[in-house]
Amino acid sequence: MATVRVQEAPFALGEEVEAFASGRTDMGAVVTFTGVVRDLAQTDLDVMEIEHYPGMTERAIGSIVDEAVSRWSLGDALVIHRYGRMGPGDRIMMVATAAPHRVDAFAAAEFLMDYLKSRAPFWKKEITEDGAGWVAATEEDEAALTRW
């Protein structure tokens, strides 16, 4: 039922959302989340490089999606996550959920995001004028898992 895509290529956000939301006469609510590479003024980010663990990535995202489907009344879910090099403004990833009611669609999308942040094997490296550095995981992101 759900779709998971891990890819290097960009994805067409508008087309993905349009396709995901189409023909759903039994689902009243569609929620999407899109993650965008930020260019913070103080760092002057040039490139974001995302490394992942081929094989485990698909497996880990699959488990996270299965868990979401078991917890909420969902009609469908979509996860697209890129790896490789990206620039400011590029879309890193997206999540979409369709449910009969908005509460389920929102909760499932937030759950997917919280788990993708800390439990899917991706690592972000920021390359700026001053050099390169791995993005550190935050306590905030780890703490976000405890609410589920």
Binding site: Y53, M56, H81, A120, P121, W123, V135, A136, A137
Partner: protein, 83 residues
């Protein structure tokens, strides 16, 4: 036992390898880490603070006391930063 050991992100950079095949009698992930640490400084350095390292055995996230019986692939990496 033959294990494929994978390293990601700064662990890969510090060790200078993304993957290696190892012959080992390690019973747990922790035993394997001790073996690696004893090899060379770059391993000792990469594994100096295990609170900053996560481990997956056969592509499932696990703990350092996890047994390695029947394992084929062990991966070490920092906390994940997806999304």
């Amino acid at each position: 036992m033959t294990l494929d050991v994978l390293y990601f992100a700064w662990l890969r950079e510090r060790i200078g390898l993304s993957q290696e095949r190892i012959e080992t009698d390690a019973l747990t992930v922790a035993d394997l880490v001790e073996e690696l640490r004893a090899r060379e400084d770059r391993y000792a350095l990469a594994f100096s603070d295990l609170s900053a390292v996560r481990v997956a055995v056969d592509q499932d996230l696990t703990e350092f006391d996890a047994p390695l019986a029947n394992a084929r692939e062990v991966a070490f990496f920092p906390p994940m930063t997806g999304g």
